[in-house]
Symmetry: D2
Subunit: 305 residues, 4 copies
């Protein structure tokens, strides 16, 4: 029970960029407004569990790695970050699904809507991917893109006109806004603890996340979290971003393959319905496994058995 | 420690409307999909605190009223409701701010956007209120309304055309949707416990809530909660919807007014800056108080002193 | 979109007591470890809703009062507090029920249990109240208290001996702790946002809260929150601690009483079953109302009618 | 937008055991009180994202496996479970740390404490493990166990006497309880959604979880979840319980080992400080890796290099 004066946790590398505008997309941005805690605060919170007698056992970096590796997540909640965001409403619709955050958003009931919309350059129109239901892949050719961009500009102008006309005629802001396009920018203060921020980053920096929110998430990770809590950022990359998860079934199969028992592996694939016995086509899970196996340098069984 | 077979809590009045479509706005709806618990489940959870010896003290209705009156909120969490909603995105943007709920929303990454938009009849265009920054009050005249409605229809058509053109040219759904107007309908499964639902209703049935979400909230309250947990609904109306809250300052002033001491009341108003000494104008808090006092039949001091 | 360097919100009055040990009970304490935000941060978050054009309308104190009065709670979430606590386990069992906080508690799996137990002075043994099921009221006489205190000391000694014996014989700490008395102290880092902290204080500073946790809550309010966010603390006292809530029924009755219509009031009391027609005894709700009415200087109807 | 009458999701296999007492430890139990949803409800919620057009793509089991494999967790929140628990307070202290649940606990302010304490048989006294700071491993010899058990019984008797004496002398229940041993049983209603329940099970069925809570968690998984949502339970075992996670570093090393490049592997181990260059001792991370590698049948490099 010490009574000595203590000072707040401060991170000079983060203080240096406080208030700085990091641009994202065409009219968006992220700014760090405030924060609480640092790598040492995580260690401090973890050590209340270990007690005084075990203080020397782990040094800070090792302890943070241990915590993240073993899903001891509560000490990371002791760090808080507060950002000011400027983001298209379509992107914000995904963002707001993360519930364990504090939010104050710009209100278009109180104030007129922000006049900026996210625009698309002719070379930026993405094609629906054939690989899965949700993603995009490649781009439309530039000529078609130019036409789409021209239509987009025209639509944005007419949307702004529609909104302005309603406002000028006295329509309540809360009703005038009803036809704003989802590309309209909004702003918000967003505060979240580090544990939940890492969860946000793991989902939104992922290659399956939509391009727009991935730009924001990557910037938060690489420009902000990396400066704020460098040990945590390093561990997060190793144990989350670059980690590989293998299911119990995948572990069974990988054992057979490493043992070189391709006959047993082939039988296993058939038994588990990973290979269609009629046409030899692999299931979705089998294809996902094959990608992992290849990246590890493990050979799949020759389909001729 | 009983071992007897028990049955699930069931509410025939709610079972009767399971799956029924309650229309809201022009293309929206609410449907009850499932639920857990009833008034008796609240009582059961509360009584685990009271223990066996006190079972006879309160009968169910009285206990539920006691719990709600005294903010013993946890027993209400034992009841869960699951709805299917169809709601304009603008309204959904407000809805989703209630974080203590489970949500699965229709995805316009996976599927094409719903083709319905919320339209406005000529007589439904609301005027910006002069009373505060956020509300609406009264309607535009019908002629102006007809023009706005025609413009709205035209805009909705062009928005749908824009979206369809993009889809047809192969633009990824996740990008094609970027300019959907906020009036576009979305759908969701929404599950919430009764305590948090009552909080949602208290905020969204309030006269300051926006018209659109108020229609949904009122329907949930009057058609669904009233059938599901009638004792709770009755208590909620009395202790939340119709309750009056007086601040410590208001209590001080009301005592002076009831005592008929208008000289002291006048002095109090000046001391607390509720009356501007220069022009005799009441502050915002003073005006809010005056409305409450009037509804109680309490006379404010004559401003002549 | 400014790009100017900003500084973190700092509160010198709170910085002055950072790390200082505030003793509570016989071996407990509270220390402020860190914080984020201040009164101005609440205003800043609220104003993102109001937009630039309305910045001058409210000054800070008025806006904070408005927010708290009208349950606009989200801006208060922008402020975070981090405390180090030392508290008996029995008290901690109540504390931990507040779920919207981040917690790292001293682990008696990793470390030996803290050797302190909360002891009771001979004059501090509280009597079970006759008024309700849960509280206490008055004290045992000092002679009985001396005996209870002696028994308590003896029991604490035997509990510590039992624990030490197990540890010395090699029993795992996680099992040796199984018979620690609830009076054993534990420690924790506890971080919470200001909105949820105010909710905690409203419940735990209340006269119905148990004495022990009330000491902690009162100290957090009066020594810490009052220094940290003085405008919020003032508004909290006025709109929460000292506020009076009247149900819809109570408002109906108060109107009749203020109008002086005691005949109608008497009829109302009978109709609502607030008075037992057989014996004239008031219901629980009627007694609660009578206390409020008295504090406002409103006379209840003469029971003779 | 169908308007047909629907029925609630019901699971006969779970209905059959509703209210049945599953004993745990010496005086504890778990009983299922109610539930909402089933495997099909998860699929239904997921498909609102996929839209009508994709309904035939996945059959239910495959979709549930896909969701769990890819951390699409929200559909699992649509299922709720409500249990009645009887559990020692020491175990409950761990249980209550899971914040996303609804809880009503037996109150020893309102009622006298439950008279049962968790006792320990002579052969059940566990030894502190040498492997890590927190676990247990092996048992004390039976003679020492008999002595500890006798001391435990005597202590439990004196704790009950102390409590009863206080109650008889009129001490308030809230104060009389202050020295109850942590082994005292408590009861609670506990309601949680399936996503958060799976998280609870993953942590508390784990071999590092304490013996006592592991008994409860395993029973919930194997006897309740397995009956309630069999597809989810199967997928949970494969993708969580039996899954293996490899960090980015581990993936790097495993590639070298599978390629048979032991020279490069040895260099890598030194470079990453996984092997102490002075004494050849592996780091904690290296030891964790070795266990995984062994289970996959991958040989570690010969330490002679």
């Amino acid at each position: 029970m010490k009574n000595t004066q203590i000072n707040r946790a401060t991170v000079p590398a983060l203080d240096n960029i406080l208030g700085q505008t990091f641009p994202v997309l065409d009219h968006g941005h992220i700014r760090v407004i405030d924060y609480m805690g640092d790598d040492a605060a995580i260690v401090q919170a973890a050590r209340v569990s270990y007690g005084a007698g075990t203080k020397q056992v782990h040094e800070d970096r090792g302890l943070i790695r241990y915590l993240l590796r073993n899903a001891h997540t509560t000490p990371f909640e002791m760090c808080k970050l507060k950002l000011h965001l400027r983001v298209p409403m379509d992107c914000w619709r995904q963002w707001i699904r993360h519930r364990t955050a504090s939010v104050n958003e710009y209100s278009t009931r109180y104030s007129e809507a922000i006049a900026d919309q996210q625009g698309t350059l002719p070379g930026e129109w993405r094609l629906q991917t054939a690989l899965n239901k949700q993603g995009s892949e490649g781009f439309l050719d530039i000529e078609q893109g130019e036409q789409l961009t021209a239509e987009e500009e025209s639509f944005h102008r007419s949307a702004r006109d529609l909104y302005q006309t309603r406002i000028e005629r006295g329509v309540a802001r809360e009703q005038a806004r009803k036809d704003l396009p989802l590309s309209t920018y909004t702003e918000a203060y967003w505060s979240i603890d580090l544990h939940n921020l890492l969860h946000f980053l793991a989902l939104r920096m992922d290659e399956h996340a939509q391009y727009e929110i991935r730009q924001y998430a990557t910037l938060i990770g690489e420009e902000i979290v990396a400066r704020w809590v460098p040990f945590t950022w390093e561990a997060f990359q190793d144990y989350r971003l670059n980690a590989m998860r293998m299911s119990g079934l995948e572990v069974e199969l990988i054992r057979l393959l490493i043992a070189g028992d391709h006959v047993a592996a082939q039988a296993w694939l058939t038994e588990k319905n990973w290979i269609d016995p009629n046409n030899g086509k692999p299931s979705r899970e089998a294809r996902e496994f094959a990608a992992k196996a290849e990246s590890l340098g493990i050979k799949m069984p020759d389909s001729k058995g």
